[in-house]
């Protein structure tokens, strides 16, 4: 226990000395630094650099976190399974139905030359359906009307 007490006492002294630095006047701080043979301007530059390194480290970490989140989202999108119709004809019919129900998707999805999407390849139709699924278009209850 004596050791513990001795440690606490020593810590108390060092903490008071540290806190006394906080209350030291500007003139004294400069005097103290010069008395130690330090150049105040050089010390100040050293401190500013250390702080800016902290800022840079924070920004990099933030950027890294944003990038990782983006990667995760992209990964999630790639791994989402949508239940698409089995046949190319059914897929094409579904795409037509979606574009009829929500025509705003058309210009966003199809270029002018494919407005008549009968010219789209089966793979293009599938890709468009996947994109629409990501946008939540497949959850429209009207799509199920008339099913069964």
């Amino acid at each position: 226990m004596n050791d513990k007490i001795a440690e606490e006492k020593a810590r108390r002294v060092l903490e008071v000395i540290a806190e006394s630095v906080a209350e030291t006047s500007d003139d004294e701080i400069l005097e103290d630094m010069r008395a130690e043979g330090k150049d105040p301007a050089a010390v100040a530059q050293e401190v500013r650099s250390a702080l800016f390194r902290g800022v840079t480290a924070f920004k990099k970490a933030k950027l890294r976190a944003a990038h990782e989140q983006h990667e995760r989202q992209v990964e999630e999108l790639h791994h989402q399974n949508f239940s698409l119709p089995d046949t190319p004809a059914a897929m094409r019919a579904l795409l037509a139905k979606i574009l009829t129900l929500v025509p705003e998707y058309g210009p966003a999805l199809l270029t002018a030359q494919y407005r008549d999407f009968s010219e789209l390849s089966d793979e293009d139709v599938r890709q468009h359906l996947v994109q629409l699924a990501h946008l939540g278009a497949m959850e429209d209850p009207r799509l199920r009307e008339g099913d069964g």
């Binding site: 440690e7 030291t24 400069l30 800016f52 902290g54 970490a61």
Partner: protein
């Protein structure tokens, strides 16, 4: 409602640091780390300030620029970080390190004996050395300055400034000049 400073404001505050404020920050963080000894785990004043800035920017210790100066804020954050480090070491010392079965099966070889490996809640001699030796060295360097020695003893006992003045029968100026001698001696002792 207090509004935390933005990143741009924090960057501007760093650029605007005066020589005096920057010097104060460096001296303060060095002494704060010295006060926690081994609990600092090798971190230096730059690490401490960078951690302070990171917490400030992340908003976990936002800087309320209307209530406190940038330097005051960073000293406060540094103080908290040092306290956390000291508390962490204490918690590690106090935590139950071994299961009962491990202790029952204690090996005879001291190197394999969990009793030997268990972290003692008491500081080790080496740990005490860092803070206590620093204060012992301070006392040795002031062996010809009885007032500073008395002040150090009073600080060890937990007396505050007014109490020290009263107990030692000294003026505010006496206390300030003695504290100044004490403060100036620390870099030599810690180096």
């Amino acid at each position: 409602m207090a509004e935390p400073a933005s990143t741009a404001e924090i960057e501007e505050a760093i650029r605007s640091l005066t020589d005096q404020d920057a010097g104060r920050l460096k001296r303060y963080t060095i002494r704060r780390l010295a006060a926690i000894g081994r609990a600092a785990r090798g971190k230096d004043w730059e690490d401490l300030l960078q951690e302070g800035i990171t917490r400030t920017l992340a908003g976990t210790r936002a800087w309320n620029k209307n209530a406190v100066t940038f330097v005051g804020h960073l000293m406060g954050v540094s103080r908290s970080i040092c306290s956390e480090m000291a508390e962490k070491l204490t918690a590690e010392k106090n935590e139950e390190p071994m299961s009962e079965s491990e202790l029952i099966g204690a090996a005879k070889n001291p190197a394999l004996n969990p009793y030997q490996l268990a972290i003692s809640p008491m500081p080790t001699a080496e740990e005490i050395t860092e803070t206590r030796d620093a204060v012992d060295a301070i006392k040795r360097s002031f062996r010809d300055d009885p007032l500073v020695l008395d002040i150090v003893s009073a600080l060890e006992e937990g007396f505050n400034g007014p109490e020290i003045k009263e107990v030692l029968g000294i003026s505010q100026k006496d206390l300030e000049t003695a504290m100044r001698r004490l403060r100036r001696a620390v870099p030599k002792v810690l180096s």
